[in-house]
Symmetry: C2
Subunit: 275 residues, 2 copies
């Protein structure tokens, strides 16, 4: 398989946005990027939206995306409507709606800009973690899925290696602290870029797994910030909840590239699993 | 002055949204809630948007707001357009645009719900901080403003008591760590509620002040999550940046109420001051 060739990357194919004869934008939502029960992953959907925001932007990179998840869209054809906002030399705003046959599914405030490889004047360091080889693959080790939960399609497409210090839940010993850490990369070897970071920003199992609650945690709102162009190689993702109460849970992601630089952040509000 | 009387609270008056004869929503943006140079505070503007989202919602509280700041609106009349989304027993979505005579200024994904006073199953504890009395008032001590920067109107309306461990910049000794902590409450004694938390989620000076950079840090996107009904009294706000690079800075807020419960979170992407 050719590495780094966007024409053969499953991620690039599955997030492609094409212009129709009528001038609209169309995507084909790929059922493979599901997280269980045929529900498509929120980061995957947001990466499709990011591609739509870039089509007519003067800038090449998504730097801030804030989405409301109105309903779960079905796999298959989806339309993308982009309302352009102010655009300048530094950044461009737009508002993107992703809809399927059932109506609007995501509404997204999108900001695009031109990221550079320049150094940080301040950057939060990567936490101490085991090497990729010392971590546990979600896809290869089915036992890492909690009891009764099948390994989702997403975990076959995003190679996810959990820090075993945060994977006790998979062997019936939840830590009780809602924190997960994992090395991730696209399984077909495509290197990370800002669009892949949007995907990674919602790619881990729910943090509530670490609390022993294995239900689905549907995203209500998700904000992703892309802070720098990532270096090639694995990215480290840390997901952490700060408050679980009243049926709500937050998930706070920080993502570092292989050089240890903080390259993305996300925060979502989700409904907490019941069990 | 009557405490806890919304008819006399400056905050409630300044964020009021009224329905016009034509059925539209109108606010009067109050020039007093400025952060310097006549620019209105982003949290103040978002609180006005939250009120608009609540007008026709079946739920009483904003729980998630994600805003793009397209341009700085002028003080004076503003119109609010609310496009309702799916609404149910648990939550309701809407999309709100705040515009002034110059056009759209904020586009906001808004989620409303019904928060309860129930206990958390997990909550990040409040950091160790000095008491309110041991902290420094931004309004009373003009010297807490950095050289050449006037105390803004916002700091007269939000009583802001900086933890002196994070206020070295005010006396020419920036810590170099982009972290600020402060106790806050509305100066007229109005108790906190979810709308006040939206205001508090962008109420501190820029974290870059702690790095010795005293310019304006205009907000590009801001997400606020309200997690619980706050208890009466002071709230503790901690603002922290994780990455400063390429002209961009993030600001990550956590807010605890007087009982030490985490009640709100926010994250924004802003342009970094140049100096």
């Amino acid at each position: 398989m050719a590495q780094n060739d966007p024409t053969t990357s499953a991620f690039d194919t599955a997030t492609a946005v094409t212009r129709t004869d009528g001038g609209g934008l169309l995507a084909e939502l790929d059922p493979g990027w599901e997280i269980g029960g045929g529900v498509l992953n929120g980061g995957y959907l947001l990466a499709v939206v990011a591609r739509a925001a870039l089509v007519d932007s003067p800038h090449p990179h998504p730097v801030a995306l804030s989405a409301s998840y109105l309903r779960a869209p079905a796999p298959g054809p989806a339309t993308l409507t982009v309302v352009p906002g102010p655009a300048g030399r530094t950044l461009a705003h737009s508002f993107v709606t992703l809809s399927d046959a059932g109506g609007p599914a995501l509404t997204v405030n999108a900001t695009t800009a031109t990221l550079t490889a320049g150094a940080s004047s301040y950057s939060q360091p990567m936490p101490d973690v085991p090497t990729v080889e010392e971590c546990s693959s979600v896809a290869e080790h089915g036992h890492l899925a909690p009891p009764g939960v099948q390994v989702p399609g997403l975990s076959l497409r995003v190679d996810t290696r959990l820090d075993i210090a945060t994977a006790g839940w998979a062997s019936g010993q939840p830590s009780g602290e809602p924190v997960l850490r994992a090395w991730v990369r696209l399984s077909d070897g495509r290197e990370p870029d800002p669009l892949a970071l949007v995907l990674f920003a919602d790619a881990l199992p729910p943090t509530s797994f670490a609390m022993g609650a294995f239900g689905w945690a549907p995203t209500v709102q998700l904000q992703v910030l892309v802070r720098a162009l990532p270096a090639p190689g694995w990215c480290l993702v840390e997901a952490r909840s700060n408050e679980v109460a009243g049926g709500w849970v937050d998930e706070d992601y920080r993502i570092w590239d292989s050089t240890g630089r903080l390259v993305a952040q996300s925060r979502q509000l989700a409904r907490a699993p019941r069990n």
